[in-house]
């Protein structure tokens, strides 16, 4: 499934392509759609690896053209009403295709990933062919051909993992402010088996690293309460501690059991209020930007952070995740600049059992 307008805004400097007004402006500025071409490259790669895949798709620029360009004969299952496709078309097409496919391959950016999330949730494995402007979500192949390669693995290896769907607020970015949100998780093929990929890439995919972090956290928290922020790493930590936490949200655990699941800020404040000195907060950097607080985990509000105190605020990350930041600091945006300043500096990040990093943290 191709979002024909994904990426339109990129080359013309519009920081994204969400909404018809921006798309029109992009075309005025001379933007040329590239999504179909890139989707075609991914399909060609897929076909080269698995022979003749059965391709279900949407009509014309929504996938049919890309499939034909790759030399495939697709089965068209959805046709948009008008000539200009919208987010509603993406959702409708995804719903039409999802029940009958092994993998929903979509070409687009973060906005498209959100539409796919809304449409199919985790009912079917998906994989993004990166064609958008913003790709902060962890659901894309590293390039069109790489996406085709990963898609081909689904034919033989049915191993999937949950990956974050992130999106920036485009209006905020255009006005000079970076603001990303975690929207949820999609089911994507697990990282390829070749050595380099397994070691780099998603932290949650490394059970040894995550198991070590979980053991270290358990040792530090003891019988206390553990407020666990959202994210792939923290979810895997919860699993290692024996708790299957919801896909999104902030959860409170104690001794391998739920105290409360998916709490909002008010609920969390009430829980923490009872015994702030016996509470630990563990958060992991979310997305590629290194945000530790204030993106995707706003439920952990400044009042709660102040009550628990900086010493029992624990950052957790695998070594690979920290190294992937390339020396950039972890970021804070709690909404309380004084608190951001108080929490900034070189903080301990738990990377394994008996293993930590000292890593720079600063206000966004």
């Amino acid at each position: 499934m191709v979002n024909p307008v994904a990426g339109l805004g990129g080359r013309v400097g519009l920081k994204g392509s969400d909404g018809p007004d921006v798309q029109a402006r992009a075309r005025e500025l001379g933007a040329v759609p590239r999504a179909s071409e890139r989707a075609s490259a991914a399909l060609a790669e897929l076909a080269a690896r698995v022979g003749a895949p059965v391709v279900l798709t949407a009509a014309g620029p929504m996938g049919e053209d890309a499939a034909r360009a790759a030399g495939l004969e697709p089965d068209v299952r959805y046709t948009p009403d008008g000539s200009a496709t919208t987010a509603a078309d993406t959702v409708a097409a995804a719903r039409a295709l999802a029940p009958d496919v092994d993998l929903l391959l979509f070409a687009g950016g973060d906005g498209t990933a959100r539409d796919v999330l809304d449409a199919v949730g985790s009912s079917v494995p998906v994989l993004g062919v990166p064609t958008g402007v913003k790709m902060h979500s962890a659901v894309f192949g590293v390039g069109p051909r790489a996406a085709g390669e990963v898609a081909a693995r689904v034919a033989t290896t049915r191993a999937f993992t949950e990956a974050e769907v992130m999106d920036l607020d485009e209006d905020a970015v255009r006005s000079g402010r970076v603001s990303a949100r975690l929207y949820g998780h999609l089911l994507v093929p697990d990282a390829p088996v070749r050595v380099q990929q397994r070691k780099v890439g998603s932290s949650a995919a490394d059970p040894y690293a995550v198991g070590g972090i979980a053991a270290e956290l358990a040792g530090r928290v003891g019988g206390g309460r553990l407020v666990l922020g959202p994210g792939g790493t923290t979810r895997a930590i919860a699993a290692a501690l024996g708790v299957d936490v919801p896909v999104m949200g902030v959860n409170v655990l104690r001794g391998g059991r739920f105290v409360a699941a998916d709490v909002n800020a008010a609920e969390l404040a009430r829980i923490v209020e009872a015994d702030p000195a016996g509470t630990w907060i563990a958060v992991t950097p979310i997305g590629g930007q290194g945000f530790l607080l204030g993106r995707g985990n706003q439920q952990i509000a400044p009042e709660v952070l102040r009550a628990v105190g900086p010493d029992r605020l624990l950052a957790v990350a695998t070594e690979a995740k920290l190294a992937a930041l390339g020396g950039r600091p972890l970021l804070l945006d709690t909404g309380d600049p004084d608190l951001d300043r108080a929490l900034a500096g070189y903080r301990t990040v738990i990377t394994g059992r008996g293993r930590t990093a000292r890593y720079p943290v600063q206000g966004a």
Binding site: R145, V200, L322, A323, R355, T356, A357, R358
Partner: protein
């Protein structure tokens, strides 16, 4: 596959003689050779051992007698010889190829003459339990080698006992632990600081010795973050264990400041000199203020790697750590050499007896053949070779040298094929394997795996400019193929004994089999 560049037209008369290709085309032998244990035929003998002249039944203690014959394959000498010659044709070993692709391993030439010394009966027939009066020669070699390594590092004493680099790192952390125990500070000082691109043995050995490990990451410029070090040190700091240059080939020029910061906090500083090949005779561990260091004799000092051992390490220490050295030490009283086992504060033994003596002899011979000036020249050529190769490699499409970009490297570079991988879907490992069709390779020793699509090259001083040109040309060709004909790269190797090795079984403790016994149990289910 397209024709090599210099394959010009040939006249019909000469058409029977194919032109030499621009790049070497390598084809490995394939013998379908079984394992040695599968080759035995009951009753076959390699050597007819004469019967003992006197019955042995009563002279051997009961505990030493076998109840059944050992499960060895029964083979003739010719079959054994043929087996190993065949295996030797099925590999791409250090003496066969331009072996610069095992970065961090310092695969330099091991001079064959040094093996003549080792095979001489005066070395090969020594026994470690001989009385020291009968082994004065080898003790003299060890004593002199210790003095030379002390001079090279600036340390006061050196133990030659560790069996490899990691064993030497472990020796160092064991001495750190003993030092703080002797001062009553061990409970308080339970943290060791290292960097993410120091060799991971430092973190692993510190953990094994019971310490907590704090890792520092590169700053924005790609150097270890000195501000993070300042935040990490304190009354709990036992030691800094750091490699320099790091495994990226980047030299931390503020290393003396790092040492000062740790010393001010009361900690010790251990220098991992596994990457010393580029700094021999140029700078010393002592110059930066380190309390201790280690060398890998099988890397920097030319002794063979021997497929995972036995290697040899050397741990050097300053005066205050001398009491904690492994025992025994080799001492000289002005006339005789002797072994000093009476060292009450020693960390004890790191391995049996005195070290891997053959490798000590090889390293001694290598250093003696070069002299002080020669060692410095080794470093200079190694650094020149590396930076020459880096310039050629960075001209290839799709490759980069992450961290401290634009800066030179010391003796190795950790490159990244991330851009090529994104453009073509071809992975670093596939490039290294495809290089085997051209008679060389690189392998994937890049721990920790944090640089995407890594390739670590370390050309050492052993390779000529022609070698480096050939190696770079091979990588350039494979990169061109990745962009124009990726399938050829992905399906490589095309001319090797085994087509593609599946990693899963090698990575999983449940399936890996490094002995015949393990193979029978895990693979054959016997």
């Amino acid at each position: 596959m397209s024709a090599p560049a210099n394959t010009g037209p040939v006249s019909t008369e000469d058409a029977r003689i194919a032109p030499k290709p621009a790049l070497r085309r390598f084809h490995q032998a394939r013998w379908d050779e079984p394992l040695l244990f599968e080759l035995g035929t009951p009753g076959t003998r390699g050597v007819a051992v004469p019967a003992p002249e006197v019955p042995l039944d009563d002279s051997l203690p009961e505990a030493l007698r076998r109840r059944e014959a050992p499960g060895l394959p029964e083979m003739s000498q010719l079959h054994v010889l043929r087996h190993y010659l065949r295996l030797s044709q099925e590999n791409l070993g250090v003496d066969l190829n331009i072996d610069v692709g095992q970065g961090t391993c310092t695969m330099k030439y091991s001079p064959k003459v040094n093996d003549r010394f080792v095979r001489d009966h005066r070395i090969s027939e020594l026994h470690p339990l001989q009385d020291e009066s009968t082994v004065q020669g080898v003790l003299e070699v060890m004593h002199h080698l210790e003095k030379m390594l002390a001079e090279i590092s600036g340390m006061d004493r050196v133990s030659l006992q560790p069996g490899a680099g990691s064993a030497a790192i472990y020796t160092n952390i064991a001495m750190i632990r003993a030092y703080f125990a002797s001062r009553g500070e061990l409970e308080q000082r339970d943290e060791v600081i290292t960097t993410i691109f120091s060799h991971p043995s430092n973190a692993a050995c510190a953990k094994t010795a019971g310490f907590k490990v704090i890792t520092l990451y590169p700053d924005k410029d790609g150097y270890p973050d000195i501000e993070a070090l300042k935040a990490a040190v304190g009354p709990r700091t036992a030691a800094l264990m750091i490699t320099n240059p790091e495994d990226t080939g980047i030299f931390n020029s503020r290393i003396a400041e790092f040492v000062d910061i740790v010393h001010e906090a009361g900690g010790l500083c251990a220098y991992d000199q596994a990457n010393a090949n580029g700094i021999l005779g140029i700078t010393r561990a002592r110059a930066a203020g380190f309390d201790m260091c280690h060398f890998n004799l099988h890397k920097t000092f030319s002794t063979p790697h021997a497929c995972g051992g036995p290697a040899a390490g050397a741990s050097g220490v300053s005066e205050k750590l001398v009491p904690f050295l492994p025992r025994p030490t080799v001492e000289f009283d002005g006339t005789r050499y002797h072994l000093d086992d009476d060292r009450p504060e020693s960390v004890g033994k790191i391995r049996p007896f005195y070290g891997v003596v053959p490798n000590l002899v090889r390293a001694y011979a290598w250093i003696m053949s070069l002299g002080a000036e020669g060692l410095r020249e080794v470093a200079e050529i190694a650094v020149l070779n590396n930076n020459y190769l880096m310039k050629k490699i960075l001209e290839i499409r799709g490759v980069s040298a992450p961290y401290a970009e634009g800066k030179r490297r010391i003796e190795q570079v950790r490159y990244s094929w991330e851009e090529l991988g994104r453009d073509t879907g071809v992975h670093s490992e596939e490039i290294g394997v495809r290089a085997a069709d051209f008679g060389t390779h690189y392998w994937t020793s890049h721990h920790p795996y944090v640089v995407p699509e890594p390739m670590t090259l370390e050309p050492t001083e052993s390779y000529s400019r022609q070698d480096l040109d050939e190696y770079a040309a091979i990588l350039a060709e494979v990169a061109r193929e990745a962009y124009e004909d990726p399938e050829t790269v992905r399906t490589a190797p095309h001319n090797s004994t085994i087509h593609q090795v599946r990693h899963e079984t090698l990575d999983d403790p449940k399936t890996w089999a490094v002995t015949w016994r393990a193979y029978r149990r895990k693979i054959l289910g016997q």
